[in-house]
C-alpha cells in the first residue's frame, strides 16, 4: 500500500495498519491496573465540578476588580488627549482619496494601506470553512449514517416560500448595493458578503437545497473561494515585495473595487457553506 493510499484512508477515518508493520514492539505492554471504584465515578465528577464552580466565582470576582481598576485609569471617553489622536489621521485621511480611490477611508485603509491584515482575515475565513469541511462533510456511507442523528431537513413551508418570493429580490439587491458601494459609503466587502450569504441561506431554507444547487454547486463554491483568496494572495504578495507601505501603482485607485468584490465573494460562500454543512453534511 503506497503512502498516498495510507494518507487517504487516514483522512477518511478508516482503521489503518502502520506503514511498517513488520517491526514488533520491544517488550510486551504491561496490563493496566484497574482503579478501585471506592467512590462512584459520577460522585467524583460532581465533587470536582462543585470545586470548579467555587473557583470560577472567585476568579470572576478577582477579574472584575482588576479590570475595573484598569478601565477607570484609562483616559476619558472622547477626550482630545486620546492616544488615537495622532499623525496617522492626517496622513490617512489627507491622502486617502487620491491614493486609494475610496472615500470611505476605513475601506481604503483595510484594502490598501493595511491590506495585509485583510489578507490574514480572508485566510482565517478560508481555514474555518476547511475545518468545518473536515469535521462535517459526510463523504462515505459510514459518516452519513453517523450524521443522521444530528442533521434533519425541514419540510417545505408554504408561508415561508411566499414571503421569500417577496423578500429575496430586495435582500439580494440590497446586498449587491452594499457590496459595490463599499468604497464610497459605509459597507464594504464583509457586510455586503454577509448580506448576500444570508440571502442564499434564505433561498435554500424556503425553496430547498436543490434549487440552490442549480447555480451554486460544489465546484462553483470551491472555485469562488479559491479565486478570491488567490487574487488576494497575488495582490498582497506584490504589496509586500514593494515594501509593505501601500500598493505603489498608478492603478491602485481603480482596483479597490476588485479587491472588495473578492472579499465579498469569499464571505458569501463562507456563510452559505457553514449553513449547508451544519444542516446537510454536504454542499
Amino acid at each position: 500500500m503506497s503512502a498516498l493510499d495510507f494518507f487517504t484512508k487516514w483522512v477518511e477515518g478508516e482503521k489503518t495498519v502502520p506503514l511498517h508493520a513488520e517491526f514488533e514492539p520491544l517488550e510486551p505492554k504491561k496490563a493496566k491496573k484497574k482503579r478501585p471504584a471506592a467512590i462512584g465515578d459520577r460522585q467524583r465528577l460532581d465533587g470536582f465540578l462543585r470545586l470548579y464552580t467555587k473557583c470560577a466565582v472567585v476568579i470572576s470576582i478577582l477579574m472584575v476588580l482588576v479590570l475595573l481598576v484598569g478601565a477607570v485609569a484609562l483616559p476619558a471617553f472622547a477626550s482630545p488627549g486620546n492616544p488615537t489622536n495622532n499623525e496617522v489621521v492626517r496622513r490617512y485621511v489627507g491622502s486617502a482619496e487620491e491614493e486609494t480611490g475610496a472615500e470611505n477611508v476605513i475601506a481604503g485603509m483595510i484594502l490598501n494601506y493595511r491590506g495585509f491584515d485583510t489578507f490574514g482575515e480572508s485566510c482565517v475565513l478560508f481555514l474555518a470553512v476547511c475545518c468545518v469541511m473536515l469535521l462535517l462533510w459526510a463523504t462515505n456511507d459510514r459518516l452519513r449514517g453517523e450524521a443522521k442523528a444530528t442533521q434533519t431537513e425541514a419540510p417545505r413551508d408554504m408561508i415561508l416560500a411566499n414571503v421569500a418570493k417577496l423578500l429575496l429580490p430586495c435582500v439580494l439587491c440590497f446586498g449587491i448595493c452594499v457590496l459595490l458601494n463599499g468604497h464610497v459609503s459605509p459597507g464594504g466587502g464583509f457586510s455586503g458578503g454577509s448580506i448576500l450569504g444570508a440571502a442564499l441561506i434564505l433561498f435554500a431554507v424556503s425553496f430547498g437545497a436543490d434549487s440552490v444547487r442549480r447555480f451554486f454547486t460544489a465546484k462553483v463554491f470551491n472555485a469562488v473561494r479559491i479565486t478570491g483568496l488567490m487574487v488576494y494572495a497575488v495582490m498582497f504578495g506584490v504589496y509586500i515585495y514593494q515594501g509593505a507601505n501601500q500598493i505603489q501603482s498608478d492603478l491602485a485607485r481603480y482596483i479597490v473595487l476588485v479587491i472588495d468584490l473578492a472579499v465579498g465573494l469569499v464571505v458569501m460562500s463562507t456563510m452559505y457553506g457553514f449553513y449547508s454543512f451544519y444542516t446537510k453534511g454536504e454542499l
Binding site: 476568579i59 478601565a71 477626550s79 489621521v89 470611505n104 477611508v105 476605513i106 450524521a147
Partner: protein, 124 residues
C-alpha cells in the same frame, strides 16, 4: 466618583460585559451556552476598541462633501481592528459549533457532565 464612572462609561460597560461572558462560559454546563458566552466576550472587546477611538467633535472617517480635512474625522484604525475581530469571532464560533455537532453525534448529549461521564466509561 460618579464623574469617574461617567467619564469612562463605555470601558466600564465593556468590562462588566466581558466578565459576564467569562463567568457564564465557566459556569454553564451546556456547550452551546458556552459558545454564546464566548460571543458576548467578543462583543465586549469590540465595544472597548470602538469606544477608545472616539474624539470629541469629530465624526466617522467617511469623507463627505466637506473635503479631506483631517481635523474633522476620527482615526480609522480602531474600526479596522474591530472588523478583524468580528471575522475572527465568527470563524471561532463556527468551528466550535461544528465540534459540538460531532460530539453530539458521538455521545448523544450537549451537556458537559454527561459527555465527561460517557468518555470515562468508554475509556475503561
Amino acid at each position: 466618583m460618579l464623574s469617574l464612572i461617567i467619564d469612562n462609561r463605555f470601558a466600564i460597560a465593556a468590562v462588566i460585559l466581558f466578565v459576564t461572558g467569562f463567568a457564564n462560559m465557566m459556569l454553564h454546563p451546556n456547550l452551546i451556552k458556552k459558545v454564546v458566552s464566548f460571543n458576548i466576550m467578543d462583543s465586549a472587546t469590540f465595544l472597548l476598541l470602538a469606544s477608545r477611538g472616539m474624539i470629541a467633535g469629530r465624526t466617522a472617517a467617511i469623507l463627505t462633501d466637506g473635503g479631506a480635512d483631517p481635523s474633522r474625522y476620527v482615526n480609522p484604525i480602531p474600526a479596522g481592528l474591530v472588523l478583524t475581530g468580528i471575522v475572527v469571532s465568527v470563524s471561532v464560533s463556527a468551528f466550535s459549533l461544528a465540534l459540538i455537532q460531532r460530539l453530539y453525534g458521538a455521545y448523544g448529549s450537549v451537556d458537559l457532565r454527561d459527555i465527561l461521564e460517557a468518555m470515562k466509561k468508554k475509556g475503561e
